[in-house]
């Protein structure tokens, strides 16, 4: 890795914020001043030295809720994104390399899934299935993987016709080598920029689901759920709902700043020796 001085400032800001969010998520029980479900004071107390961000609609410490919320939000989003990328990229690359009926079958199946609005599809599935974390992650991951599939197939089809892939085929290489050693390294930079975007979409999607009451179930809450809990306060001029909303926006921006920077570094064809 390059030294810290060569990292551009936007990327540095992104990295710092992302790391802060991650620390909050990982070490939540040690950092949070109060428990997650612990009622500590009055309803919607303003910010004070005791409660840095005030209290929520049930009188729980908002800062502690935010920290625990970061944990659950990021946990679900990371797993869902990981699932969608593993699934989407693998299937997409296979479709591009194998072609033929596999490609047709997969692509039409994906078209079918994409034809249904994602949110409505998720609402239907989640209201039928038991609402556990696993189902939530699976539903989010699979729905998102259709987008990743589309992208990775499109990229891989372009790379697959290059002479170096043909050279590998002539050498007698198997499909694993062709996918993971010839195609994947060359498809990485668009996929990484997509990774940043999809991670944010996962968080927004999760927030939307929780806001509608189908995401994380109380007493646990992700940031979207917290917006929902506190939304009634807005009418009385209480900004408690804005804090989780702002956190969502901040995470979205900082992750994308990092993704942009990684993209810049990896799209360089000289092994990262050029540019910055």
């Amino acid at each position: 890795m390059a030294n810290v001085k060569r990292i551009p400032i936007p990327a540095l800001i992104g990295i710092i914020l992302t790391v802060l969010f991650l620390i909050a998520a990982i070490f939540a029980p040690w950092i949070a001043p109060y428990g997650n479900g612990q009622i500590v004071g009055d309803v919607w107390e303003p910010m004070s030295a005791q409660y840095w961000l005030g209290t929520d609609n049930l009188g729980r410490d908002l800062l502690s809720r935010m920290i625990y919320g970061a944990r659950i939000t990021i946990f679900i989003a990371v797993l869902a994104t990981a699932l969608s990328f593993t699934l989407g990229a693998t299937l997409g690359f296979c479709a591009a390399v194998l072609g033929g009926w596999f490609d047709t079958l997969m692509s039409r199946a994906v078209d079918l899934l994409m034809a249904i609005p994602t949110l409505i599809f998720a609402l239907v599935v989640l209201s039928v299935l038991p609402s556990t974390l696993v189902t939530l992650i699976l539903v989010m991951g699979i729905l998102d993987s259709t987008r990743v599939y589309r992208l990775s197939r499109a990229i891989a089809v372009d790379i697959e016709v290059m002479d170096f892939v043909e050279a590998a085929k002539l050498r007698g290489e198997g499909m694993r080598w062709i996918i993971f050693r010839e195609i994947l390294p060359n498809a990485l930079s668009p996929l990484i920029s997509e990774l940043g975007l999809r991670f944010i979409y996962a968080i927004l999607f999760l927030s939307a689901l929780s806001f509608l009451g189908l995401g994380v179930q109380p007493p646990d809450a992700d940031w979207g759920g917290m917006v929902k809990e506190n939304k009634d306060g807005i009418v009385f001029g209480i900004g408690a709902a804005l804090i989780p909303a702002a956190a969502i926006a901040m995470l979205a921006i900082s992750v994308n700043l990092v993704a942009d920077w990684v993209l810049n570094r990896t799209s360089d064809l000289k092994g990262g020796r050029g540019n910055g």
Partner: protein, 555 residues
């Protein structure tokens, strides 16, 4: 028209006078602060009205950059930082944007290398041909179109009255290049910059375009800068030749002097580039690769690209397959490698039949048969280092790992005349010739009996290509490897082949040992092909065209 004549009377000096031209660009070398590099070092040239000056040199010599400077244009971040470009008696670099706009497409026109990429595919040819003329108000639309049709005729385009109604994709590459020349001539400029107008064309097409350009230049009396890397081509059209290297002038003189009595060593190297000493080997008794009656087709068997092809390759020898684009040369390679399973016929290798489909061939067969591609930069994975590119066949076929593998990679790098230090470089950090050498090393790593070379020198500069050919010949001597050498360049064939197969529309029209194939009497196509190869000789073009005319009349 009147103002042009006035300008013509006013100026007494040459049409174009470039003085101490200095062109710079900013480079971003890895791990260092951006640097200023000088692309053209204080080059001066003058061009009289109606004369043609050839600019010649390898890639990176700055010939296009100098050519474009005559219209005050710097490509992609290139800056003209010094000197004067005096056209029709005024310094165009001082005229500002407005001045340049008036100049381009009016006094100076440009003919690009790839006409197919330079035409807008969404507009009809005529609209594009007359665009500049109308824009500068040189003529009414009707007049301009009349002039364009006259030019189409002069450039011997088929159906000159109606060809302008077609779209760029509806005419062939050679025709498109001629239409582009008509476009440049249409606004009656004083100077045309031809930037490698025939480099991307087949030899048989090149000669037509070349002749058309020459006639058009003579008839309109326009002056021209003709940029190319092929000395034989430039010798046909220009009055003077300027040899450039690394942005510096090497030699400047009359065409006859440059090609007959070059005074500089570098010019001499360019002139004698195709001279390779290679003694033809007699065909052995038993071929080890034998293609028998192969027929292959694309599109589910509908478009037959190969028709009943039979050729043999003998151990340690070179079979050259020549023909123009679309003759099926590369398809033959695909059929031999198994990428395109033949419909009929078979390929025998070392006395045993080779499976038609790639997937059915054992690893050993795949190892014996390697391939080198035309475009070396897409034939290597840009994300792998040279070491892992060359090392992979060693791992894959021989199971070499670690230090053993690295030692062999170093040995191979040595063989292709590149140092050990290249092992951890990426392809993007190599020059064109080096890339092709790495590809050669990769195929050699498998210790093959046959290497298929698909136009391996076509994308390279003459001098670099020369080096690659010599390397291939040396390696053949050392490793006893045979080559199936696919090319459209007959000069290359003459230099390295032992036997030749001439292909035309999917059929082998002439096949045999080199000396036999290249001895008359020829069949019509071989004759056309042979007579189209530019020779380093003044007046060759006229002779060749005349020969062809008689021939086509005779047929």
């Amino acid at each position: 028209m009147a103002d042009k004549k006035a300008a013509g009377n006013r100026k007494a000096g040459p049409l174009l006078d470039i003085r101490n031209l200095r062109i710079e660009a900013t480079a971003y070398p890895p791990g260092e602060p951006p640097q200023n590099i000088v692309i053209v070092h204080d080059v001066s040239l003058t061009l009289e009205k109606g004369k043609v000056l050839g600019l010649i040199g390898e890639s990176g010599a700055g010939k296009s950059t100098i050519g474009l400077s005559s219209m005050g244009y710097g490509r992609g971040g290139v800056r003209i930082t010094g000197g004067e470009v005096i056209l029709n008696g005024r310094d165009i670099l001082k005229g500002g944007k407005q001045g340049l706009r008036k100049l381009r497409g009016h006094e100076v026109c440009y003919v690009a290398q790839s006409a197919a990429a330079a035409f807008n595919p969404a507009h009809r040819l005529m609209d594009q041909v007359v665009e500049a003329t109308l824009l500068h108000g040189r003529a009414t639309r009707a007049e301009a179109e009349k002039r364009a049709i006259k030019l189409f005729k002069a450039l011997s385009l088929p159906d000159p009255e109606h060809i302008g109604e077609r779209f760029p994709h509806q005419v062939s590459g050679g025709q498109l290049q001629r239409v582009m020349t008509a476009m440049a001539l249409c606004s009656e400029p004083d100077l045309i910059v031809f930037d490698e107008p025939t480099t991307a064309l087949d030899v048989t097409t090149q000669i037509d375009v070349l002749a058309a350009i020459k006639v058009a230049i003579r008839e309109t009396g326009v002056a021209a800068l003709y940029i190319t890397h092929d000395l034989a081509v430039v010798a046909q059209v220009s009055d003077e030749i300027m040899v450039l290297r690394h942005g510096r002038l090497v030699e400047w003189g009359g065409t006859r002097q440059i090609i007959k009595e070059p005074r500089q060593e570098y010019t001499n190297a360019l002139v004698s580039v195709h001279e390779i000493n290679h003694e033809e080997k007699k065909p052995g008794r038993t071929p080890f690769l034998s293609v028998q009656n192969v027929t292959a087709a694309y599109g589910g068997g509908h478009i037959k690209v190969l028709k009943n092809i039979s050729v043999d390759i003998f151990p340690g020898q070179t079979l050259a397959v020549v023909g123009e684009s679309g003759s099926g040369k590369s398809t033959l390679a695909r059929a031999v490698t198994g990428l395109l399973p033949p419909q009929e016929g078979s390929v025998t290798f070392d006395g045993r039949p080779l499976a038609n489909r790639l997937a059915d061939r054992p690893k050993e067969d795949l190892r014996q048969l390697q391939m080198i591609y035309q475009m070396a930069d897409v034939a290597m994975n840009p994300r792998q280092t040279v070491g892992s590119i060359i090392g992979r066949p060693l791992e894959f076929y021989f199971g070499l790992r670690g230090r053993e593998r690295d030692a062999r990679v170093a040995e191979l790098l040595d063989k292709i005349e590149m140092g050990k230090g290249f092992a951890d470089r990426y392809p993007a950090e190599l020059s064109g010739g080096q890339k092709q050498r790495v590809c050669i090393a990769r195929s050699l790593a498998a210790k093959p009996k046959l290497i298929i070379c698909d136009e391996v020198t076509s994308a390279l500069d003459p001098l670099v290509a020369h080096g690659i050919l010599q390397l291939l010949l040396e390696l053949q001597k050392e490793e006893q490897v045979a080559y199936l050498f696919i090319t459209h360049d007959l000069a290359t064939v003459k230099a390295i082949a032992d036997s030749i197969a001439v292909m035309y529309r999917g059929e082998v029209v002439r096949y045999g040992p080199k000396s036999e194939v290249l001895t008359p009497p020829f069949d019509a196509y071989t004759d056309l092909l042979l007579s189209s190869v530019p020779e380093m000789e003044i007046g060759w073009l006229e002779k060749a065209i005349k020969g062809r005319r008689m021939e086509s009349a005779g047929n």
